[in-house]
Symmetry: C2
Subunit: 591 residues, 2 copies
């Protein structure tokens, strides 16, 4: 059985140049998959601690949590996480570095990656994204160095996906100049909160802000949880979520507040503040838009989870493919040799399409990373660019996490009994990534968000037309402006145009033909959903509910087209053809 | 979050009669799903220990193994397992009881079920099925009572699916009147063997029998592993497979033999023996047929694994559906209430088709159980009946275990973060059933076995025809005798005949139309594969390998048709229509 593929072994083997000094196939593929962040990723691999980054699966809960915290400390000592809480949030470099740091850590134990995500990405990220420079200066350095371990306390027992309906209250007391943080009911307690059960001292707590009796919607405030000796503070009740299906190294727990008083300056008030006179102030008039702006500042988490899942899937594919290449079973006819598993068509079907898809998703994730770098470093970015980023982040989070769960399971089965032994990593990867489909947004809810984003674009283009006009326009050239192309998509667009001109003679092996089919499917599904929505009573739960199949289909059709575009562009970029040579399908029967 | 559904809670709630004294819907469905074994299953539920049958997930390896052995002892004390090693192997009652016992135990911790499967089903079953009355009298009572814990030592490091190529040798030494059991290479050691790492004292060991220098193929022999104090015996080397992806309560390990001497009478020699003069004797002349006869005697294990997986899936569906009925999220429009998850179409799509399929697979499993009862209790059964049983057992093992893995995962995701907490059972069920796809036969290999069984039937019917005659016959009425109907299938056959007469006007909602479509798919896939095989060079690895997609498709098409037949028959049987009233589809648009 192959041993684990960590960043260290990737560094040692996959990037090795061929004998003639030219980069070998492995190095070419690695560079292609690394994309625009190749150098940053290589630097991350070089800094990755070379030993002891895989957890003994038999460690109990307490030991596993301590081990994980220690490993996170090692990563911080090696320079990881610095960018995650960087004060210069608008630097493109630091924003990109934070994503690559998380992905690199994901080559080791995923509990460590998620603990890093909780501490630096979510806790630190909330302070950075929702706080003001005073908060940054006061808290970020300690968050980075792990001197202050923190929680991101958003989800409650009663509300997870529906964040707008959180029950925790953050009430301003003008006499004391303090906020009172309170959990009115059992269902209001925060739960599944990482760092809560044991290590957290400070929490970014989300709740309904109430100022002078007026509800101002969900805001975020810093609340101390434990004193310097680790004792839970008065008014705070902590529970332990105990043993979980995976990620045993992360100490998830529940937090309830009983009228806990917090100084006024602990409100993370970038988007909404309360002044010394007790007046509520916000640069965003509309409460709904303010809510989504705050959530939008947290988009990085979803990008990280998708990226981490993608790496887990690739690690599993690497293990299973190496095994299949060595493991033999059943005699080869007319020979004394036995047949490697990888020679069986049925076994190839399990692994090879998944490898191709891993590349496709990797290329798409690179586009997402680039888009994040652009949007997050431009304080005046177009709201449409923000929406496109959020749609892409949500959709790729779904595709990557679903892919990881399915693929790691396939790899486990492809390795037979050996795959079931914990020492061979697969069951651990599978158990750890399982919940990636749930946290940072339930995958079904996120797909609905993707569809909503796609339809909003559609409405902006077609909204002005009346019903007849819409149908006519749709029939003529529906979606010409709806299907927005990223950089990678421009190549696909040219291919589509070519395939379209070929008409019926378009070959099945032609990439342009595939791109065209995916595009047509997307167009058709959006167009018919939009018409259906227009005809339906949007205020009727039943009418909207009845469209959910269609909504999810639109989301998947959109995302699969985006990924195909990225795949085509990524393959092209990895080809060593001299610059300027036109792209040509390498398929056998392409004309 | 709902607590676990054990047999005890099923007893308490689901079988409850309606207020008017008539059996309620739950009781009717329970009886339908229980099938012919309803009374036996009810007795099992009544005998199921009512408390302490769910393992604390935080127990370490050693504790988990000890806990599991203790619980198995409780089941034995409650009367379970008696039939599993019953000496009267040909009693239909005891054979059926052994299957129901395993399924009932599967309502508790699956490590206990699998340990029971190892001890009673495999170890006891090998003695019962491959041994003679002298072995039964000497060993079975102690195997039942757990006085002798045992191993089923078939799989080796180098050979799992390819049992015929096992490397362990069982060489007869005529001078000493003993067998010498030996593992010639590292790859020859047994591995993943349950009860090996800690508890096993005796093993049924499979290896190549060599008598007077002649290899006689795979046979099975009893080999002592440990002395009364638990010390490993000389010549035996035991390894521990350590932490696994699940089933932590089962102590899997490796066993290597260094010229271990065993008395002659420990060979389980029902199908092949060595007499005092050192002569090999077998009632089955053909070595290949002898090998498959021995393996066929072990078919019960596959039936149990499929049945246990089905129960795990149903437990998960019960948990997730109850949760979805109570858990609310997002406000219902024009109301102060929030919406239960189960009201969302997207959530229904996750759970409801899986519930329907759980019933379909349950009905099909009942047919398998009935077929096993018939075949195993008739010592003179037709070889075709044995082959049909093995095909059905292999196919349903695949469908049930794939279904369990996919469905438990769906249920986990449908319960969000709560689904990830170990106390809510889902991740534990998922981790435990994972390897069900591998042991008792890798699912891909089993599907190939299913296709082979189907094609053998086909050849027996059509083999006499030449190529042209075959094509003509196929065109007229292909497969009329190929699609063998079990009892449940006869109803489907009538429906198909009706749908066929209706022709194009057959309604989409008509069950007969569905049965017809499934049947046509099966016919077409078998027919075209048979023609393809006839044209191919059967000695060429590449030619046969190239057909694997098609082979797996045939296997799936066959099994899905079998399950649909069972579903239709099971639904019909559960209807309370007076006897004699003709079956009529309840679908809305059926004529």
């Amino acid at each position: 059985m192959s041993t684990v593929t960590t960043a260290a072994t990737a560094r040692a083997s996959e990037a090795r140049p061929a004998a003639d000094g030219e980069p070998g196939l492995g190095a070419t593929l690695l560079a292609a998959l690394d994309g625009s962040q190749h150098e940053r990723r290589m630097a991350g691999r070089a800094a990755f601690p070379s030993e002891g980054m895989l957890r003994d699966p038999s460690l109990g809960l307490t030991q596993a949590r301590a081990w994980t915290l220690d490993r996170l400390g090692e990563f911080v000592a090696a320079g990881f996480g610095q960018a995650i809480v960087a004060i210069e949030q608008t630097s493109r470099d630091t924003q990109l570095q934070s994503l690559i740091d998380f992905e690199t850590i994901s080559y080791g134990d995923l509990s460590v990656a998620i603990k890093s995500g909780v501490q630096h990405g979510l806790f630190g990220g909330a302070i950075a994204g929702l706080g003001t420079p005073a908060h940054h200066e006061r808290f970020l350095a300690d968050a980075l160095s792990l001197r202050t371990l923190g929680c991101f306390a958003m989800t409650e027992r009663g509300h997870g996906s529906d964040v707008a309906s959180l029950e925790t209250t953050i009430s301003y007391d003008p006499d004391a100049g303090e906020f009172v943080v309170h959990s009115p009911r059992w269902s209001s307690a925060k739960t599944y909160i990482g760092n809560a059960a044991e290590h957290g001292h400070l929490a970014t707590v989300f709740g309904q802000l109430i100022v002078d009796g007026v509800e101002r919607g969900v805001h975020c405030i810093l609340v101390p949880l434990r004193d310097a000796d680790g004792r839970v503070l008065p008014g705070v009740t902590i529970g332990d979520n105990g043993h979980k299906g995976g990620l045993l190294g992360v100490d998830n727990g529940s937090i309830a507040f009983d009228h806990v008083r917090v100084p006024r300056d602990l409100l993370l008030d970038r988007f909404g503040s309360v002044d010394a006179e007790g007046r509520y102030l916000s640069s965003i008039e509309n409460a709904n838009r303010r809510f989504f702006t705050m959530l939008g500042a947290l988009v990085r988490g979803r990008i990280c989870i998708g990226g981490g899942a993608a790496i887990a899937a690739r690690r599993a594919l690497s293990i299973a493919t190496r095994y299949a290449d060595r493991r033999k079973q059943f005699r080869h006819p007319h020979s004394d040799d036995e047949t490697p598993l990888l020679d069986y068509l049925a076994h190839q079907r399990k692994l090879l399409p998944a490898i191709a898809r891993a590349y496709a998703l990797g290329f798409a994730q690179n586009e997402l990373i680039d888009a994040y770098g652009t949007v997050s470093s431009d304080p005046d970015h177009d709201p449409r660019a923000q929406r496109a980023l959020e749609t892409l982040a949500a959709g790729l989070k779904v595709l990557n996490t679903d892919f990881a769960n399915a693929t790691i399971q396939t790899c486990r089965e492809a390795c037979g009994g050996a795959g079931y032994l914990s020492e061979n990593q697969l069951t651990q990867l599978r158990a750890d990534t399982d919940v990636f489909a749930t946290f940072e947004g339930d995958n079904t809810v996120l797909l609905q968000l993707v569809a909503k984003g796609v339809l909003t674009d559609y409405r902006e283009v077609w909204g002005g037309l009346d019903r007849l006009g819409l149908v006519q326009a749709s029939a003529r050239m529906v979606g010409g402006a709806v299907i927005e192309r990223t950089g990678a998509g421009l190549l696909a667009e040219r291919l589509v145009a070519t395939a379209r001109r070929k008409g019926d003679s378009a070959a099945f092996y032609d990439r342009g033909w595939h791109a065209w089919m995916f595009e047509e499917r997307e167009r058709h599904s959006i167009d018919s959903l939009a018409r259906r929505m227009r005809a339906a009573d949007r205020d009727s739960f039943d009418a909207v509910n009845a469209m959910q199949d269609h909504v999810l289909f639109v989301a998947r059709a959109h995302m699969e087209r985006v990924v195909l575009d990225a795949f085509i562009a990524g393959i092209e970029a990895s080809r060593t053809a001299p610059p300027g040579k036109p792209w040509k399908s390498s398929a056998p029967s392409s004309p």
